[in-house]
Symmetry: C2
Subunit: 303 residues, 2 copies
């Protein structure tokens, strides 16, 4: 099942010629999401040839301009493209976004725009996975988002055949978790399902200090995308501005035992030489990379 991430913007607050402000395109099966939507996001979607189809949900981590101002252009482009389907925005501060949308007259568009509050512990369910909201620690109300696949148990045909059940519509019932009766015997799904396979997990923090809640949600994640605005030398400023250093991001990744860490929200001061961030993170966590604009990452099924 397709599960990929495309980085649309990887700059920290101030964009550069090479890095757009924050936005991540996430595709799972036929669903497409935006995690943050900074200035220029719609144009990056075009540059990456991703298209807007099935993009129905935009998850904003916090209401700083570089994480949401691209929403306006996106909304208007979709409107001019004749969109009719509703578009959902999740944000920890829905009042501000609603207020802005009202000033822009978005209650008069041809499609509904719904603004929803995202708060710690919220789960939004989709077919085969859910998106979980977790609280982060920035200088304004902020959250991160995790896309967590459902754990699955595969239907094992051989087991059914061994029980004397021939292929047929009855298999679908067992696959869906229903118990059935076959030749007088009760067959429950347990008897024909394989072992539990863990679903994949993607975690995006947005702007944040390192925090326990991230570690909790990112435990054993396949991919953690973490704020790494600064190097250690700027740690004091990272604390003051509610960001993380690359090394701190590495520490979170290590504690959460994630498979892969990608650093983003790269401050303009490192835009020419982000190696310093990479090296500092590598001191504590080996499997780490620096995000770049338009970089793609496939989250592989491990089984």
């Amino acid at each position: 099942m397709l599960f990929k991430v495309v980085f649309l913007g990887t700059a920290g607050t101030i964009p550069s010629a090479d890095r757009n402000t924050s936005a991540i395109f996430v595709q799972h099966s036929n669903y497409r999401f935006l995690f943050d939507c900074g200035e220029g996001a719609q144009r990056q979607i075009m540059s990456a040839k991703l298209g807007f189809r099935n993009l129905d949900n935009v998850f904003i981590t916090h209401m700083h301009t570089d994480h949401f101002i691209g929403a306006f252009g996106l909304i208007e482009t979709l409107s001019l493209n004749g969109r009719k389907k509703e578009l959902n925005f999740y944000t920890p501060n829905p009042e501000m976004l609603k207020n802005l949308f009202e000033i822009f007259g978005y209650d008069n568009l041809d499609y509904p725009i719904i603004v929803k509050k995202a708060k710690d512990g919220d789960e939004i369910s989709f077919r085969g996975f859910k998106i979980v909201v977790f609280k982060t620690e920035h200088i304004v109300p902020s959250v991160g988002y995790a896309l967590i696949e459902n754990d699955v148990r595969k239907f094992e045909k051989e087991k059914a055949l061994a029980l004397g059940i021939p292929p047929g519509p009855i298999y679908a019932k067992l696959k869906s978790g229903e118990s059935i009766e076959w030749e007088g015997e009760l067959i429950n799904p347990e008897m024909v399902l394989g072992e539990l396979k863990k679903g994949r997990r993607l975690v995006y923090t947005g702007d944040t200090r390192p925090c326990e809640r991230t570690i909790e949600v990112a435990m054993n994640a396949d991919l953690l995308i973490h704020d790494a605005s600064f190097s250690e030398e700027m740690k004091e400023w990272a604390i003051e501005s509610g960001h993380s250093t690359a090394k701190e991001a590495g520490e979170v990744a290590k504690k959460a035992n994630v498979k892969k860490l990608i650093l983003t929200h790269i401050s303009a001061r490192y835009s020419k030489d982000p190696e310093i961030l990479l090296n500092e993170a590598k001191e504590v966590f080996e499997n780490v990379e620096i995000a770049e604009d338009l970089m793609k990452f496939d989250i592989q099924q491990s089984w």
Copy 2:
């Protein structure tokens, strides 16, 4: 005296991978201006290596997102860069912009942001030129802007020498238009100045139907940058949406007898093949070009 234009965004409403939304960088002597500031404008300034120094005035033609939403990122980048100098915004709808700036908390920045109403006939004076506001015809309140150099008369040293006046501080007085007495004779500046040289003139319409006021302001202009969103085939829609066709832009250029016409606000439907617009405009006005992102144009002194 340097007088140049750099196109930062040339797309019509919807950007494309090749064209950013509307923004034009204008430099005259040491002054720098933005005429419109669509999404991504600050990044285009970076890409064109123009810098933000002496950028103190942003002229917005109308309050459609693709013409002003880049202001927010620009304002915050300047703030993070430690700006202290005030930044002026001119717009036909200052209430909306003030309202938005208040929601974004821009009254608490380290530098003042001033929003001024731009209305037909307003003149903002700078050293050696003025910026003139003229009413245009779009579907919301809209204006265009003209940068008009003062006409000048050059000091002719030979004439002063012929009158027996030797070089010295007295020349500066004559140059500045003061009359002086030299060996008992009244010397007025007329006697030592050359003929009147017309100042250069740049006119930018923003989004508009062709209109008389543009022709009036653009009369004999060196450069007219005109809305040319559509081809003739889309004329009905151009009328309905308050835009111009390329041919109509050519007609305005012809009536105003401008030296050069550059077409902008190119609809995404022509982004791969803008030749159709160019050809239609050429039917009525020969010296025409299609704007492209990061294209530079020097407005030459003709004398």
